[in-house]
Symmetry: C2
Subunit: 505 residues, 2 copies
């Protein structure tokens, strides 16, 4: 028997079933939910809502919502609602296979937004009003304030702006997470903004709980369910080589005096390759590292445990089941070393620039000139979304983009003449890394960048083909600053669509 | 007879001819000069240097430099050195016809950088060491501190980092400009950065002069020459219609409560269309406007004079000869209303986000999905550079990109299926304006954006053609999130190269 988590009497009186709570949500509403990369999302109300939507559809009644979150969630939220055809519009990020399939079939509208922009753009009124917020918390204190769970995301903004609020209190979340969060209430709309008083990545500038207008709370639901994330694939040779190149580069920068011995605060995207980088850092000889990032995944927990990483600031977790158990078991240890913030703070341009973060993110493809595509397969099919990669690439000290040099059994080259969609421009990309090597693009002209990308990053199977494009472009292009042959610039992608490989005939 | 401008005795002893000063610059050096959009650039040493380079070339000796500035300069600097084939590498921005021709012929290397990145990336060591700084000032005080002239740009960083310094003291610049500048010495390298204590756009947070290590000053040159900018073209009907659409939109945003009655600090790019917007604001009924921008051009001086604009913060000027005379004549008036800052402050992500600037910049082309090309003609030929447009588009409250809907006598559509180069991604563009109308892209999915761009921005001559592309892409694209037909996506540009028009058949 666990201790009572709902300590405010009035809110305890509002405890209802997930079905009763979901019934507060009407067709056409804009619903803002908690959740960031499979952590801290509501576990029960979205499923109940999906059932009510299916029932309505069976009765021939239209029922869809506009759905906002922090970032991606899990099958119980995005999956259930997408399968029920219950989402008219999704933002700002998703990774769900069912949602993705619907988006790319043109059946689900999706808006892909810098994570640092979401809260303020909603607050500015660019996305209309929020009807209902559905927020998972760990506990409700006596005074009605909310102890966040394993992600903060945009919860502060959702609670502030929503007309009605549904709270899920999840007993599966460790009660001792209380105290880990730092919720900053100092943001404002311009012209009333002030400097954000954060100088070190582990500074605490806010409060540990979320404020909540109790009059807006229409329902409270008790849950007891785990955050769900897939286990990471163990690092393979490709990931380890990518990690090795990047870590060697960082050591080189320290040796040249361009980085402090303990680097600068690290931001790490989510996925197997960033996780391999974190694993590589564990045995690299670095000490006193810092992380100012969005998401803590397995590798970062290991770094904290081994003491290589001094602290981590984040807005959510993406932990495998095993890492989740480790986190819960040693929550007292991690609470001293982890600060969880709202995503407007974790990704804030002011702070990313001030701290000089080192951004390390995966990508879909890069081109000769250092433009990076993080979101679209063959120019039109969305994968996940830009997430926070742009926040760190643009405003940090250094931006590295990582990918194996090929995909789909070698039929796709991740280094192409021209990317089929641009998320990070030539102005924002410092370093490109594949298992082949690392291209340091800093201080280089476009043609010099092409040279190092060809020499260091492209797979040998595509090197001659890329070199041939570049040589002919240098000779025949309309302009010789960024030489391109327009009829061929996207031809690799079309060849893959037509023949199943980017390789020439 | 004007009063003596060089009040420090030791520096008065270092006065030499421009030729003698230029002789301090050796082949292969990295030379950092003052200058931002045709203001405050050195008037004599670059010409003398160009002559020495030509003499060397005639003698068969190689002589080129790497040249950094604040932004663009004028014929006496970029033009003279480019014509002499004296520039091996240019950064971070240029607008000179001779330099541009050499860049696009592949004979001059150019790196195009966000203006907010320049000072810090040089300070980080990404561009090697600076050998010589050549800085125009208005005067040298008794204590050796320097009174800046009509641009600040990166001068603080150049003076701090250069191994040797050449100062031009330009008596043409008004002595009473003293007091107008605000040079902030609080920036640092991470991990030592602190919040920048600027809360209102007209706050003064620094000192009025530039610090200078006198031991590094190898030469001082007296000059008396004007800043050179072309007169603006009087606003034509197209510019006025673009301005009209944007101003109507801003009024609408005020009426909807999304903007204060006096808007938010305006950033305005340089050129005839942004100037037309400023002219339009003069008679729009707005009052107490603010400007936090890079450059003050004629229209902004008019707004200050009429009292519509309360103040302007900038890092340089781009004034016609007539406006320059007006500025000098009424310098006491303007000194109370203008603050000149370093470009790391005028374009700083922290401040642009805090103040919530409204960015208004020209563009070369935009595409269906709201990606903007600010720099490249037909994907490979550079025009000028990205300048500060990205700093404001990404981090401000709102970003508007402005262009006539066609160029080159209607043979080029500024709205295309896919831009041939991306400087501002779909994630960063809020509003696109042509004389046809305004597309408000906020809160829209890619396909919804395409609809409003077709309906509001494209020229009627290209509307059916663009609609046909979009309809077929929606039907046939590999993915339906951002529908593109890759073989056709850049075909409009290639058609123009092949046939002289983007029009079909």
């Amino acid at each position: 028997m666990t201790a009572e988590r709902i300590l405010h009497p009035r809110l305890r009186d509002r405890v209802v079933s997930a079905e009763a709570a979901a019934a507060w949500i009407a067709p056409g509403e804009t619903v803002a939910m908690s959740g960031f990369t499979g952590s801290g999302y509501p576990k029960a109300v979205p499923i109940a809502l999906a059932q009510q939507i299916e029932t309505a559809h069976q009765a021939g009644q239209p029922f869809q919502i506009k759905l906002m979150t922090g970032a991606s969630t899990a099958p119980e939220l995005d999956g259930a609602l997408a399968k029920a055809d219950g989402i008219a519009l999704r933002m700002p990020f998703q990774t769900d296979p069912d949602a993705r399939a619907r988006i790319n079939a043109g059946k689900l509208d999706y808006i892909d937004i810098h994570l640092s922009h979401v809260a303020q753009h909603v607050w500015f009124g660019f996305y209309g009003e929020i009807d209902t917020a559905v927020i998972e918390v760990t506990a409700i204190r006596e005074d009605g304030s909310l102890v966040p769970s394993t992600s903060v995301g945009n919860n502060k903004t959702w609670l502030d702006l929503a007309k009605k609020i549904i709270i899920e209190v999840n007993e599966w979340q460790p009660a001792d997470i209380d105290g880990m969060h730092d919720i900053y209430y100092g943001t404002a709309l311009p012209p009333h903004r002030k400097p954000i008083p954060l100088v070190h990545g582990d500074d605490r500038i806010g409060q540990t709980t979320l404020n909540c207008d109790l009059d807006k709370v229409v329902a409270v639901v008790r849950t007891n369910g785990p955050d769900r994330n897939s286990p990471f694939t163990p690092a393979d040779e490709t990931s380890e080589r990518i990690a090795g190149h990047l870590i060697e580069f960082l050591k080189h920068e320290v040796a040249r005096g361009r980085l402090p011995a303990n680097l600068l605060p690290l931001q790490s995207g989510v996925g197997n390759i960033p996780n391999a980088v974190l694993a590589g850092l564990a045995n690299s000889g670095f000490r006193d590292l810092e992380a100012f990032t969005e998401v803590i995944q397995d590798g970062m927990l290991d770094l904290l445990k081994s003491g290589v990483l001094r602290y981590a600031s984040c807005t959510g977790f993406a932990l495998s089941p095993a890492a989740n158990e480790e986190f819960k078991r040693n929550i007292a240890f991690y609470r001293e070393r982890i600060v969880m913030r709202t995503q407007e703070i974790s990704n804030h341009p002011e702070l990313v620039r001030r701290l000089g973060c080192i951004g390390m993110n995966g990508m879909i493809e890069a081109d000769l000139y250092g433009n990076v595509n993080s979101t679209h397969v063959m120019g039109s099919r969305i994968m996940n979304g830009i997430g926070g990669s742009g926040d760190f690439a643009r405003n940090g000290f250094l931006s590295a983009f990582l990918s194996p040099s090929t995909a789909k059994n070698g039929t796709i080259s991740s280094i192409v003449p021209m990317v089929s969609h641009v998320d990070h421009t030539e102005h924002d990309v410092a370093v490109v890394v594949t298992e082949q090597g690392l291209a340091d693009l800093r201080g280089l002209t476009p043609k010099q960048r092409a040279r190092v990308v060809i020499d260091h990053c492209v797979h040998p199977d595509y090197r001659a083909q890329l070199e041939d494009y570049f040589d002919r472009a240098c000779r025949d292009a309309y302009g010789k600053h960024t030489p391109h042959l327009l009829p061929e610039a996207l031809s690799w992608h079309q060849r893959w669509l037509d023949t199943g490989t980017m390789r020439e005939g």
